[in-house]
């Protein structure tokens, strides 16, 4: 990540505004490029999930390989809140966030003292346990059938209620959530709290020995990333109009890791966004030609880990730095001669 002393104080940066422009106008041009509106919602939902996830992986260096479970928990929580308590959009989304955050907080109690391989294996174990519970607790989750008929709740704004049933309307709900969340997460990662996270990734021991309660920081960032996953899960339940167990499997938990690293989550706030977009483009464009597109995505991941772990965003940053350096050099030469 960029050096701390260059951090911006701005709340709305150029990249954020650019993302608003691109995502805000998406329904108008998505079909012109041969894709479809629902894809836009899918992308934004996974972007939200990925941005929350990257707080863990890219910023704090904690490899959670079971995070798909929390996306699933968020979806189920949304559905159950809708059916059992109150079919109000804000309430159900809040329920998804709080319930998933609570699961995250409880899980993190086991994880916060660990890092590296122990952390990774524990997250795999928890992911599989939650997956198992979701598929067996059929009274609540309806097991392999899934929780069906989750409605796309309308947006209550005082006297008015905005419908979200259609793909374009639903897309704009997702966009609104994204627009708010991206600003919050941007501030968070550029705050003192974010700085401590980045230090933990570089040298956890030293952070403890300069006086920070590292275990608590790790617990808090895990819980936070799960809360964000819950939010994405709630939107996901509406998108699919159902909650299913498949996203809680290890395979899907692995896909978020692929997305985030390939995009450049280790070095850039926007890495996860790039990774998610690339994944869905690969799925829909490559997938039309070959069934093994996910295999290629996985191989790309391995190649990047080996040669360019800073991912696509990192490669982009490198290019920018090199062209800037090249432009400066000729000027210096003439100065020396002059």
């Amino acid at each position: 990540m960029e050096s701390d002393t260059k951090q911006t104080t701005a709340w709305l940066t150029a990249p954020i505004l650019l993302s608003y422009a691109v995502f805000g106008t998406l329904p108008f041009w998505i079909e012109a490029v041969g894709l479809y509106h629902y894809l836009g919602a899918e992308i934004l939902i996974w972007v939200i999930f990925a941005l929350g996830y990257n707080l863990l992986l890219g910023y704090t260096g904690l490899p959670s390989f079971g995070h798909g479970a929390f996306l699933g928990i968020g979806a189920y929580a949304f559905g159950l809140a809708q059916f059992e308590v109150w079919p109000n959009l804000w309430f159900c989304l809040a329920a998804a966030v709080v319930v998933t955050g609570a699961f995250g907080a409880a899980t993190a109690l086991f994880l916060s003292h660990r890092r590296g391989i122990y952390f990774a294996l524990m997250t795999i174990a928890f992911g599989q346990i939650y997956f198992f519970i979701a598929s067996k607790w059929t009274d609540v989750t309806h097991g392999e059938d899934g929780l069906l008929n989750i409605a796309r709740l309308p947006v209550p704004l005082g006297p008015v209620e905005l419908p979200t049933a259609g793909n374009i309307e639903f897309y704009y709900l997702c966009f609104a959530v994204y627009a708010a969340l991206v600003v919050v997460l941007w501030r968070l990662t550029n705050s003192p709290y974010g700085r401590v996270l980045r230090a933990i990734k570089q040298n956890e021991t030293r952070v403890a020995f300069v006086g920070y309660p590292v275990t608590f920081y790790k617990w808090s960032v895990f819980t936070l990333s799960c809360a964000v996953a819950g939010l994405a899960g709630g939107l996901f339940a509406m998108a699919q109009e159902g909650a299913y167990i498949n996203v809680m499997s290890l395979q899907w938990s692995g896909i978020i890791v692929l997305m985030v690293l390939i995009g450049g989550g280790f070095v850039s706030f926007w890495g996860p966004v790039l990774g998610v977009v690339l994944y869905f483009v690969a799925r829909d464009v490559l997938g039309a030609y070959t069934e093994t597109w996910l295999l290629w995505f996985g191989l790309m991941f391995m190649a990047l880990v080996m040669f360019k772990p800073q991912g696509l965003a990192g490669i982009w940053q490198e290019l920018v730095r090199r062209t800037a350096a090249r432009r400066r050099r000729p000027a210096r030469a003439t100065e020396a001669e002059g």
């Binding site: 020995f209 300069v210 920070y212």
Partner: protein, 247 residues
């Protein structure tokens, strides 16, 4: 009563007893040294004293309060800090950023999510002052990976200093340094001595004997000798073990 006391420390790893009945006392305002051959248990001792490991038996007291087995961050909050023998720096950061994060005022805001980082000019000034003290003036913006070995050693101490400790533990600060850098380091430590109590593990006997007020010798996990440098020069074990020419 000494500023820092360890009594009856005992530590084993698996079947191996690494520390046995360690008693140490460090007086305020002094530089206390710890020496001994490799594998004697010096760094393990440091790790127990600074909270990295819990002792199986025994107690550690700082300024009268029992800090045995306390988590490292709590010990730091009480005014103890340490540098590491194998350097523990933030490799992606500049020298300045390494120091800034260790400052108590920055630590106090560690949970703030709204405070703007680069508006913190006071923190930056303090960090620059620390870097100046350890001889890194002008190198503040340089990335750690681009610093020379000697500069990184200086930064290692700088980060520990930044926490504004009353008691500073320094683990083999001269490791790998050439004569010039070692001389500069000796000057730095002499200057630090005037404001901070220091406890230092060192292999370089000339270095240690020129700076320390008292030295404890650890061998086979026990304190086998203790005294001023002059007293230790007469100690038969020290003379026999030939730990670097003291003649």
């Amino acid at each position: 009563m000494a500023l820092f006391e360890a009594r009856g420390l005992h530590k084993r790893f698996g079947a191996q007893v690494v520390l046995e009945e360690i008693n140490l006392a460090f007086e305020a305002g002094q530089l206390s040294g710890i020496m001994g051959p490799n594998g004697a248990g010096k760094t393990t001792c440091f790790n127990v004293l600074t909270g990295r490991y819990k002792p199986d038996r025994g107690s550690v007291r700082f300024d009268g309060a029992d800090i045995t087995g306390m988590a490292p961050h709590r010990i730091v909050a009480r005014g103890i800090s340490r540098s590491f023998q194998i350097m523990n720096l933030f490799d992606e950061y500049s020298a300045l950023d390494n120091v800034v994060i260790a400052l108590p005022q920055v630590r106090a805001r560690g949970f703030s999510v709204t405070h703007a980082l680069d508006a913190d000019t006071d923190a930056r000034d303090r960090a620059e002052a620390v870097l100046d003290r350890v001889g890194l003036k002008g190198r503040e913006r340089v990335n750690v990976r681009s610093l020379s070995y000697g500069e990184r050693r200086a930064l290692e101490i700088g980060v520990a200093l930044a926490t504004e400790p009353r008691l500073l533990f320094v683990d083999e600060p001269t490791a790998g340094l050439g004569t010039g850098a070692t001389a500069r380091l000796a000057e730095l430590i002499k200057e630090l001595k005037r404001h901070t109590t220091i406890v230092m593990i060192e292999h370089d006997m000339r270095f240690l004997f020129s700076l320390a007020d008292r030295i404890s010798v650890i061998h086979w996990g026990q304190v086998i000798a203790e005294g001023t440098p002059a007293e230790l020069r007469e100690n038969p074990w020290v003379r026999r073990s030939n730990l670097g020419g003291l003649a």
